[in-house]
Symmetry: C2
Subunit: 374 residues, 2 copies
């Protein structure tokens, strides 16, 4: 049905100001301009949104969670629809994670060995076993465009020797993962850099993965509770060790301010539940910072969430109305807020790309953050 294009990364432009760059990721389901934010569609839906709305928002790629999809609806169901794209009627690019992070973070973990991870479903407690091979096979069934190898995710803080041990295993699994995916596959496997908060481990990881040779590199294990300055320090120790001609994906980040801090350190791809999750809890991004719409002071506020915003929500609805929807527990509330927050971060990322192109990233960053963090 769809014409399959081969995966390719074009590095279009390198900033003079910092390590930021412009690129294009070609995938079988479309082209992604980087730096890019990928909305998270955990359970085959970006929560509250239709796929048409994602197109309206000019979303160029979404993320799906392997762990969740494997448990529900399960592979038989997704396979009967011939993959995740047609199952959820999203025909743009999809990146899936390996499920490793969820197994660790949802406290589902039971046992980990060199062979893989035994865990229990957070839904019904049923036991499951993820091996590096199985995780690739699951993602082959999902038929996502960009896939991830199983990795061992460590908590923060973590002792050096434990981080080292997890890294050895992660590299080993990365190798097995690459061997599992057929060489002629139209799916593209990234390697995931781990190594905790230890710069030397991060560098070793980056180098070992390049020896295996991947078409893109993810940076995992950041934004797991560590202070922001540590995260940024580790990031700036990591990206220079990664090849310039491959996309770099910082997993699970982030916030509007993070986009600036990480783009200028050479990151191309981002995903995070933050914009959509806080939307459902009543928090909206605005050019003057975050607001919580449930606040009493908005009860008669006839202004939009953000005067500067051109999204459907801001063009059609007042803070007073949206606050009412949240107070009355109406689904339209989370819908309108999700739409707004996604518009905000996608629009911000577009402006960031423009600022790189025009050579004024630093001044845009300064003017945005001055208002946003005030």
């Amino acid at each position: 049905m769809e014409t399959l294009h081969q995966f390719k990364f074009e590095l279009l432009y390198k900033s003079q100001e910092n390590n930021s760059r412009l690129g294009k990721v070609h995938t079988p389901h479309g082209i992604i301009e980087t730096p890019v934010f990928m909305p998270v569609g955990t359970q085959a839906t970006v929560k509250t949104m239709t796929s048409k709305e994602l197109l309206d928002l000019k979303v160029s790629i979404i993320l799906g969670n392997t762990y969740h999809l494997y448990l529900e609806p399960g592979l038989e169901v997704i396979s009967s629809a011939r993959g995740l794209h047609s199952f959820m009627n999203w025909h743009g690019p999809i990146l899936t994670d390996s499920g490793g992070f969820q197994v660790f973070s949802l406290q589902a973990l039971r046992d980990i060995t060199d062979e893989g991870i035994v865990f229990r479903s957070h839904i019904n407690g049923s036991p499951h076993f993820f091996t590096p091979q199985k995780v690739i096979e699951i993602q082959m069934t999902l038929n996502s465009d960009i896939i991830m190898p199983l990795d061992e995710c460590i908590p923060w803080p973590c002792e050096y020797k434990d981080a080292d041990k997890a890294l050895i295993r992660t590299t080993k699994w990365a190798k097995i993962s690459k061997e599992t995916l057929p060489v002629d596959s139209h799916q593209t496997l990234f390697g995931i850099v781990q190594g905790g908060m230890y710069p030397d481990l991060r560098k070793r990881s980056a180098i070992e993965l390049q020896e295996i040779d991947f078409k893109g590199y993810s940076i995992g294990g950041l934004s797991v509770g560590e202070p922001k300055d540590i995260m940024l320090h580790i990031l700036e120790e990591t990206t220079p060790v990664l090849p310039e001609d491959k996309p770099r994906y910082l997993m699970g980040v982030g916030t509007p301010e993070d986009f600036f801090y990480c783009v200028e350190r050479g990151v191309d791809m981002f995903d995070c539940v933050f914009p959509t999750r806080i939307a459902r809890n009543g928090s909206a991004f605005t050019s003057n910072g975050k607001i919580n719409i449930k606040n009493e002071r908005f009860s008669k506020d006839q202004n939009p969430l953000d005067f500067d915003c051109k999204c459907y929500t801001c063009q059609h609805h007042t803070k007073s109305y949206i606050r009412h929807l949240f107070k009355a527990d109406e689904i339209l509330g989370p819908r309108l807020m999700t739409y707004h927050n996604l518009y905000f971060v996608l629009n911000l990322m577009e402006k960031i790309r423009n600022s790189i192109r025009e050579g004024n990233f630093n001044s845009f960053k300064k003017s945005f953050l001055e208002k946003y963090l005030s």
Copy 2:
């Protein structure tokens, strides 16, 4: 801002086959073709839907619930938006009920006298007093196009003497209501026919209300638990006593089959939470009857809810996917189902209007119900 058109009912066509008719209701916010189904927007939102989606569905009028809006967000908030239309960004016609039905059905009732009804909020238990005057004043603040007088709603079954007593009060309140609304108001007050399941009381109510003289007549107190044949019997005893040149609104009805049974008995306007409520619970209308999408047999069903349906949901999504959304408790599930069910009933009502126009209501009714009720 908006040009205000005066209320007017045009009776366009009377069927030769039965008591069905075609008409146009003119209101300050637009024209409604009848017979019409009015989606219910209880809390200033048709649950899960944007006002843009209502326009896409060609909804010509919605209903708002005075009781709910009075309690939340309250009149101060709606007044600060200068009425319900701009508060919820729906600029088509709105009909509001009197709140009477909710006071009775939500078990909020504490005391009823000739002066009005004392009740407690179902949200926080706070005490309130609805008089016929106050209910008109509330609806003047809401600024809805068509408004209802406070009425006494009786349960089913109900003794004759109690039905009679409630009717006397309802007529008295109808008179007060008419006197309360300024004569030059752009809002239009209907009278509500009551009388329980007693044909003579229904007739008396209809005649007494006409003596007061309203621009439209609602039929209340039906579909309150009585068997369908009793409801239809009372209905066909009532509509002939109502003036032909005024719209007739059957409150709280109904189902697809009800539309046929009641249109052929001379009803012009309907409202009901049924299509949207069952949608949120996983039930979809189809041309072959209702289905519950949560059923296991749909887990791998790659077909739309209804092959004959041209709605967004059916054009883009499979039963397998929608079932997954419900199982995974995703908001998109109720959204897609609500859209479908509203499309179904609005489309059905359009086909009913066409069949009246073309003189083949009976044959359309037969072919639809044969499939739908099979």
